[in-house]
Amino acid sequence: MRVTTNLMVNNLLHDLGQASRRLEQGERKIASLRRINKPSDDPGGAVAALRLKNTIAEAERYISNIDSAETWLRDTESCLSNLTMLLNSAMQNATRAASGVLPQSSMEAIAQDLDQLVREAVSLANQTHQQRSLFGGHSTDKPPAEITAEADGFVRSVTLSQDTGEITRHIGPNTLMSVNYTAESVFGTQGQDLISGIISLRDAVTNQDYDSVKQIRDDLERHHARVISLTTEVGAKVNRLYAGKERLEIARVESMELLSRLEDLDLAGATVELYAAENAYRVALAMGARVIMPTLMDYLR
């Protein structure tokens, strides 16, 4: 083999180039702490990483939707339990009034009390969640229960919103959950609703119509049972949200782990590689300096 001056110089340059490229690549990896900096570094890995990032972003999104659903349902739940207590005290009042042994003054006091309960029920119906009516269907800007007539300091009638609009939250892939209850589903159909029930109870108490009092008390009992079962349903929904959230959290953490395994640099390995590359570069430089220096001319007279 004929070794020429240019051949040696070219080889040296090529070797130096290779060594410095490895050094540069190692440096770039460590500086970015990433294994994949552009799709061509590892096309399969890059797409898998992007997919995982999508999964993580989706999970985070669903978790935030679940949080939003949960606060809504929590407010609904507390409303419903207040409503249960309200019905309890209305029924107690009915029981006391139905005994028929109370003096006129006590009956009037009970009637007053019941009117207060009516107003309380109206305010429960108009509860809001972040300034949005809980039970107003899609008309979240309007109070769903309205006192339409008042006389002698008593509430005469209340109308309930007929809006049955459903409010849903996207809580998982292809999974929607309806989070709102309409006024009629909570309080009963307009006319046979529990508010008008309490109003007629109050009137029956005022009129000392004991039979009606008993009958209305039974109606309220049925409303009570319905509200309790609604409360249970809300509780079950919240539990379902918890379970979903748990699942999503696990998926999110697992995806993040996978992503980090896919994308992140093995720092120890990369550092060792960088040192090796640096050594190789130094050796190439030192060898090169020795190889291209001497020529025959150094030894000719």
């Binding site: 552009k38 799709p39 061509s40 096309p43 890059a46 972003a57 935030s64 996207h170």
Partner: protein, 463 residues
Amino acid sequence: MGLEIALRGLRAQQQALNVTAHNVANASNPGYTRQEARLEATSALSAPGMAGQIGTGVSVQQVVRMRDAFLDEQLRNEMSSFSRYNALYMGLSEIETFFSEPHEHGLRTVLTKFWNSFQDVANDPESDAFRRTAIQSGEALADALRHARQQLSGLYSSLASKITERVSQVNQIAQQIADLNRQIASVAAARGDQPNDLRDKRDVLIDTLSSLAKVSVTEDETGQVRVTISQVALVSAHNARQVEVTETASGDFVFSIAGRELLQGADIGALGGEMGGMLELRRTIRDVYIQDLDQLASHIISSVNAAHRMGYGLGDAVHVERDFFSGTDAATIRVSADLVQNPSKLAASRTGLPGDGSGALEIARLKELTLMRGGTVSIDDFMLGMIGRLGVESQAAMRFRDNQTLLLNEIKAHKEMVQGVSLDEEMTNMVRFQHAYNACARLMTALDEMLDQLINRTGIAGR
């Protein structure tokens, strides 16, 4: 007689030293081919009555170029595929930067933010702030798509001007090769000499030409080369022809020489060299990346608009069909100006009531639908597929290029071994020729002394 032999010796050594000097002077010239003076004994005389023939000395018969035509051909072939894949890789890796994936500022992030902003509106349909955010993220998405599209189109058109520039370079080189052909032929014919340095010049030009396009070269007996590109002659003897470029309706370039088209067909890159690579890259940009991006954008526009049209803006008493995006493809996509001015008209509701976010949710859930590529792929997956394809193509081009680099280095080393100047060798030759020259000179002195003896000191008796 002897004096003449010594003189011939002196001349020959001097000439050989000249060649050595020429080699040393060109030691670092990459296109230079080492030359060698071929010494040969001049024809001997037959003298009757004497044993054997009488030698008449030496002369330089020829100065040869130490070159291997086979290596040249190999180098040129590999050079044109290297340049092809290099051009392709450079372009594809530039496209990779356009999408800036898998980083946090890529198209994917913008798209995710867009979907998320509609989820926010769906959860909070009464809020003006979330509508504004959704419109902003729509604009961010439109910006990202338009930007990527603009960069792709920019690269596409810059390739066109690069290609025409390369074509004129090819034409120039063709002319130069034809000129050199004429000079070489005339030198060879007139004096029977080897025009080594002219040949070196021509070889450098052919090497450059092969990095632009794949050429094949044949040499005739007069020393002139015929250069062809895909079987059509570009240079023959001292005639150079011009490569002409025309653009087809689909935007491809067609090359022709004197009316004959060069290599048209599926494998547009088969033209080889940088031009082949750029043609291939250009077609890929147009038929794959720009098309995919446009398809992505127009699908986003049409599906978001279709869902948006069915909804009501905040406070709309009657249903008004409004588009969310205007434009038809990645180059023209924008959030419609109407919405930018009135964010409350974002159609989050399907009933016109403020608490209804089902319209916004419908738009956010478009990401779950697999409607692209004939109903098999979702918008997100379509985009990922695009990025994946880019990665694979870019990596493949890089591998080809790296392989070609290795091959090329190997061949270059081989060529260098044959044609390169070794300074040690030249120094050795220098010493050798110098000694031979000195010896010839000494011979001349000896002969001179002999003649002096014969003429001036012999036969003094007669004086």
